[in-house]
Symmetry: C2
Subunit: 128 residues, 2 copies
DNA sequence: ATACTATATTCAGTATTTTGAATATAGGTT
DNA sequence: AACCTATATTCAAAATACTGAATATAGTAT
């Protein structure tokens, strides 16, 4: 039904949005939960969720639940190739905001892994 | 003023349009006049001109006049890299329509070069 | 069961993009 | 100058995308 050009422009349309590009940027290093993006991007949760749905419906993302948290990841790593080329064409490389600040703000286990690991395993068991 | 993500999404927005992708596809082999695209794409001239302006204002194209004809070309060849990656990500490669049919329909000197060259140079001078 | 937490969905108003129709212009030819 | 040809511009209607506000849901813990 769809011409190749339409298929391609549909794909481009789903990623030609600054928030969605930022999300993809965050997911470069692997899966992340929604609350993490919320902290990094400083945007409302509902809004981020909307953009995640758009990316997911387009088949770019998939998600995995772990307890209360949902971790999103990029399904096709080739997407990152597009982002790379994009940086070179536009001359600007969009790095996601620094982790440091956001990590403290995001409450998910993954983001707090480092902090938690400072608690010795033996002690950790006791505190649970 | 503009964040890197905005710059990138602006670029993506200008190319995420099937007609504009088709135009870029046609310009892969080098500059072409508007009437050529008109014949290849079978779209109205005014419409193609609009899309050309969008691409030009975005800094992707430039044009050169030769007599009555205006030849457009892609300024940054890196753009083609984006198109290539795009094909691999989407799984569809968008080839421009066959030359053969269009060439006869396009009246510009460039497209009729082959036909004209069949007329011996000496004779050609006489016919002019 | 109740309450809480992380995430999703719906809806509506606004802004932007798309597309077509009509018209304008600039350069070339006679 | 008058006319033709190739291309550009303007305008408006229709379609689509963006964004925010409010609300819903699905797990989890108590």
């Amino acid at each position: 039904m769809k011409s190749p050009y339409e298929t391609q422009s549909d794909f481009l349309k789903t990623i030609s949005h600054s928030t969605r590009l930022a999300i993809l940027g965050i997911l470069r290093d692997g899966e992340q939960c929604v609350c993490h993006m919320e902290a990094m991007l400083k945007l409302r949760q509902a809004y981020i969720s909307q953009q995640l749905m758009i990316l997911k419906q387009a088949g770019l993302l998939d998600s995995r639940r772990d307890g209360l948290n949902l971790y999103y990841r990029v399904v096709k790593p080739e997407v990152f190739n597009v982002l790379d080329i994009l940086s070179s064409v536009t001359g600007v490389s969009a790095k996601p905001p620094k982790h440091k600040h956001a990590r403290t703000a995001c409450p998910c286990p993954k983001c707090n892994a480092k902090t938690n690991s400072e608690i010795p395993q033996a002690l950790k068991v006791l505190t649970t």
